[in-house]
């Protein structure tokens, strides 16, 4: 009989051992020498969502930032002009090529010497703080034209703040709902 008690128990013990040894492979410290392979990445908020075509998203997420510019700048420019065919310059004085050339390398620049904010009227792209209305900044730069006055229905999503107040102390993010 195939399913005799003895083989059943032996086999069960074998799998118990297999599972135990699996846990033993993951000691808490020191960390093992395993390798980790990239699956996702992010620099500036929503850039991937807005500028990367569905067909390219997998590739964008696994292209190192230093390679993103050469691979994606042209595509970002076409996308910008598709979103806003009337684009000439934006409020930062950047033409389409310059603007998308900067965006295509998807890193968040952070100042180590002063205020860190996405945009506060004075400082531009010196970091990203929790309360920054990053989407409205990006919409303004994409749709607002040189004076920020073009396409008024598209330059602000009219959601200006988070639904919960942030903390003054670490970890700063609000407690969950």
């Amino acid at each position: 009989m195939k399913n005799s008690l003895k083989t059943g128990i032996l086999a069960f013990m074998a799998i118990a051992i297999a599972f135990t040894s699996c846990n033993d492979d993951d000691p808490i410290a020191p960390a093992d020498n395993s390798r980790y392979m990239q699956e996702d990445q992010m620099g500036r908020p929503a850039i991937n969502t807005v500028f990367v075509d569905a067909a390219e998203k997998d590739k964008f997420n696994t292209t190192t930032p230093s390679q993103q510019g050469p691979s994606f700048a042209d595509k970002f420019q076409s996308k910008l002009l598709a979103l806003n065919p009337g684009y000439t310059n934006n409020a930062l004085g950047l033409d389409a090529e310059t603007f998308t050339g900067i965006l295509a390398t998807d890193v968040l620049t952070v100042s180590t010497e002063g205020k860190t904010t996405f945009f506060d009227g004075t400082n531009v792209l010196t970091g990203r703080a929790l309360a920054d209305d990053v989407i409205s900044v990006e919409l303004l730069l994409i749709f607002g034209g040189p004076e920020g006055a073009a396409n008024p229905g598209l330059t602000d999503d009219n959601v200006d703040a988070n639904d919960k107040a942030f903390l003054n102390v670490f970890p700063y993010l609000a407690t969950p709902h």
Binding site: F12, D25, D58
Partner: protein
């Protein structure tokens, strides 16, 4: 005359097996009794209901918000699995279709539509959605996995194999469980088990308890297919410890109580419990099988009729077609079975669907046609025990003794999986060869 002898021999074998108790009982009430309580499922359902209420409320405040619609679609699909209420699956589909109409080409939505269509056994529809998702290109990994799912269901082993080769990754649970299916369908059960053990190990390493539970309950099924009943049982219990509302594992334990232990009272008690909390048609088929074993014809017929009535409901669409087809073949409605099998082949041109057609033809009095279908589409193309068994019977009647014996012997290897009634029939056929 030959038939009569067969029937008598089979009847004797069944009767003998009723009275000869198995060497030992695997399923021990004390270890699973705790799970035969509606409380576990009630808790899961309450949690799901609260989640649905949360997103419904958000959707009400922001009508047409596709993010909330998609969330709800996922929860209603889970709700169908948890409650057996098919209308929840339809609610899920209609939400996804609404999103897909307004915001076409969202890969996540197409993937969800695919998953629902697979649940409904609407494989052509599923293929349409997932091919679109593959063409769009985002999240190619998941889309390829799902296209492989559809290819496997539709009997296209080569396409599935190529798709999986293209994204092979031993570090992804989602990939490994497709590798399991591929091995299983290639009739390499041992390899399939090894892949599933690896998937279970990976789920443990990830700490994702729902994935560990899923892997273990499926692994337990596969140990059963290997005939390792004790190991299957222990693995079902492990799965239940992780998710006490895991009905699949409880059903597995009921099958052990029936098919291995021949403890029909206990098997019936578990199945009736499942039926009471999870109103799916499946359980009637199980109870019919137990009644057949107990030679309680009236009860058997009653459960089969109930199954047919429930499973034929429009709402289930294609979900139970293969069982309905088998029942009609046996129940003297072979002509109707032939039609259903042909439909099933359209949806799923898999050797298993052709085997249904062959069996219906056989029962319809066309043994030559049955043989032709077998030779063209089934023999050598699937190792599923029920196909081996039916093929064995058809071959035997065609006088192809050697081939019949080979098929029936192979089917007999899976006696636990096929259950005692079919196992006795196989034995009866073998003794006539």
């Amino acid at each position: 005359m030959k038939n009569t002898v067969f029937i008598l021999v089979s009847a004797l074998i069944i009767m003998a097996s009723v009275f000869i108790a198995p060497q030992y009982q695997v399923a021990q009430k004390t270890s699973y009794e705790h799970y035969l309580s509606p409380d576990h499922l009630r808790k899961s359902r309450q949690e799901l209901a609260s989640r649905i209420a949360f997103w419904e409320q958000k959707l009400q405040a922001a009508p047409g918000n596709f993010v909330y619609q998609k969330k709800l679609a996922g929860l209603y699909a889970a709700g169908f699995k948890l409650t057996g209420d098919i209308t929840q699956l339809h609610r899920s589909d209609s939400l996804l279709l609404a999103v897909n109409a307004r915001l076409p080409g969202r890969v996540g939505v197409l993937q969800s539509l695919t998953a629902n269509a697979i649940t409904r056994h609407a494989f052509r529809e599923a293929e349409g959605y997932i091919r679109k998702a593959c063409d769009i290109g985002e999240d190619r990994f998941t889309s390829s996995l799902m296209l492989a799912d559809v290819a496997l269901e539709r009997g296209n082993l080569l396409e599935a194999s190529l798709l999986l080769d293209g994204i092979a990754s031993g570090s992804h649970f989602d990939y490994l469980i497709r590798e399991v299916k591929l091995h299983d369908q290639s009739d390499e059960l041992d390899k399939a088990v090894r892949s599933m053990e690896k998937a279970a190990g990976l789920a443990r390493a990830s700490g994702t308890s729902s994935a560990i539970n899923w892997a273990l309950s499926n692994l337990a099924d596969m140990y059963g297919h290997q005939g390792k009943v004790k190991k299957a049982y222990e693995t079902y219990l492990q799965a239940l410890r992780l998710d006490p509302a895991d009905l699949h594992s409880l059903r597995g334990i009921a099958w052990i109580a029936f098919s291995h232990d021949r403890n029909t009272e206990e098997a019936k008690r578990i199945v009736r419990f499942l039926q009471s909390i999870h109103p799916m048609p499946d359980y009637d088929l199980f109870l019919a099988e137990i009644a057949a074993y107990e030679q309680d014809t009236a009860t058997e017929r009653m459960h089969k009729e109930q199954f047919l009535r429930k499973a034929s409901a429009q709402a289930y669409g294609n979900m139970y077609k293969s069982y309905v087809c088998q029942l009609k073949s046996e129940g003297g409605e072979a002509a109707e079975a032939l039609e259903i099998a042909a439909e099933e082949i359209g949806e799923r041109p898999h050797p298993m669907s052709y085997h249904l057609l062959a069996w219906a033809a056989f029962r319809h009095g066309s043994p030559q046609r049955a043989l032709d279908i077998l030779e063209q589409h089934v023999i050598g193309q699937t190792g599923e025990p029920e196909a081996l068994y039916h093929a064995g019977v058809i071959l035997k009647e065609a006088g192809r003794k050697e081939a019949a014996r080979a098929h029936l012997l192979a089917a007999r290897e899976a006696s636990f999986e096929l259950g005692p009634v079919v196992a006795a029939e196989i034995q009866g056929h073998l003794e006539q060869l």
